[in-house]
Symmetry: C2
Subunit: 235 residues, 2 copies
């Protein structure tokens, strides 16, 4: 037992850990332009970037006001791979019906029109929350929780979900894989604990880079950290 | 937020939660003898019992002496599916190199010739332990941890592992699947978060009932709790 680290380091590592893995075709060349996960249909298979979303939340400015003080502005700590979003310096504590708390839940900015907490099943079982699997933003009839910040707390009446596994991509990557918005894909992970995650929802946008989002349970299940290859296939 | 539960209830539920799922062949009849996961090659496909192993430990009597007092005997709380083993009433706290603790880690009895802590990657990341994936008992060159009991604590110099996913079976089930001891199988889970766990190690013994053992990360990844079908296939 020699390693030392702070809680923040863990949070940040989990949140932004980026496993960049080439989808190695049998003799396929690497993308000519070398863009990491870029919309690279030309020049070979695109690089598959898999980002592991550790538990985190999105907040409205109104909820930030309650938790951090009126008019408080989130401080960007690190840009995310889709660079409109950032991990904020700020965290909140999440409390569920078993009177247990998970501290240090990272806030992702910028503020949104709804507040939403994204957990893994492991987190939710610990808190006592029956977690629905939803596309981000689809929060009607989902459970809530208690959020605690340094300046206040609030009951979030809904918005606690497991984010449905999904893959962002631009039009060239969609063309390469032969998929369109809201199609489904499977992702096979070659690792010491190999497996296939099925049914990743395809989400396309002209500006998006190719990026798979899965949660910590999904990543840990297939030991993504030690993966040697990741393959996306149309379902 | 209305449900209430105690910590113990959670531990017990996680530990012994048993998902009994028929491998439904297209028109295959249920096993004629109705044994739950019994060694039932005759009369149709065997029932696949998947048990989720939450974090737990096995201890030597010497380590029990240190943690609970000289000569202390573990109290069986619940028989496990392979009924030579039991979940004990007793738990320990596990501390890793980040000075974090996971309390309430269930002890499985009876005592063994070696002490071993089985964690999920989610647990190990929280504790700061680089977790090797090992067959139970194969603990050379594995990390250790600090164990804390009500009467003492000890440094376990090795024995912290992620147990390799595996399937127990008797000879009739092995014949049904066409596998032998130490072969590999894949398990497909049909659920709201479907997927396939590959490379389950086959372990056979004349007395064993058909039972898959996976950890909480693996179960949560594929939402095993809401699975409608589980299929075992020779790898």
């Amino acid at each position: 037992m020699s390693a030392t680290a702070t809680a923040d380091r863990d949070q940040i590592e989990s949140l932004v850990r980026s496993i960049i893995l080439k989808s190695l075709g049998a003799a396929a060349p690497a993308p000519a332009d070398g863009r990491p996960g870029g919309d690279g249909a030309a020049g070979g298979p695109p690089k598959v970037v898999v980002n592991i979303s550790a538990r985190h939340c999105h907040l409205t400015q109104e909820d930030v006001d309650v938790l951090f003080g009126k008019g408080y502005q989130l401080k960007p700590m690190k840009r995310l791979y889709q660079d409109t979003d950032f991990a904020a310096e700020e965290t909140v504590a999440v409390v569920g019906p078993r009177q247990r708390m998970i501290p240090g839940v990272r806030i992702l900015g910028p503020c949104r029109k709804f507040s939403q907490v994204e957990l893994a099943f492991t987190d939710a079982i610990s808190l006592g929350i029956e977690l629905p699997v939803r596309l981000s933003g689809d929060i009607e009839n989902t459970p809530g929780c208690l959020l605690i910040g340094p300046k206040g707390s609030l009951v979030m009446p809904k918005g606690v979900i497991r984010a449905e596994r999904h893959v962002h991509m631009g039009p060239r990557d969609a063309e390469y894989y032969g998929v369109k918005h809201l199609d489904r894909m499977n992702m096979r992970v070659d690792s010491p604990c190999p497996g296939t995650l099925e049914g990743l929802l395809v989400r396309t946008h002209p500006d998006w880079k190719l990026e798979v989002h899965i949660d910590t349970d999904e990543a840990n299940s297939c030991d993504l950290t030690h993966a040697t290859n990741v393959t996306l296939i149309k379902a």
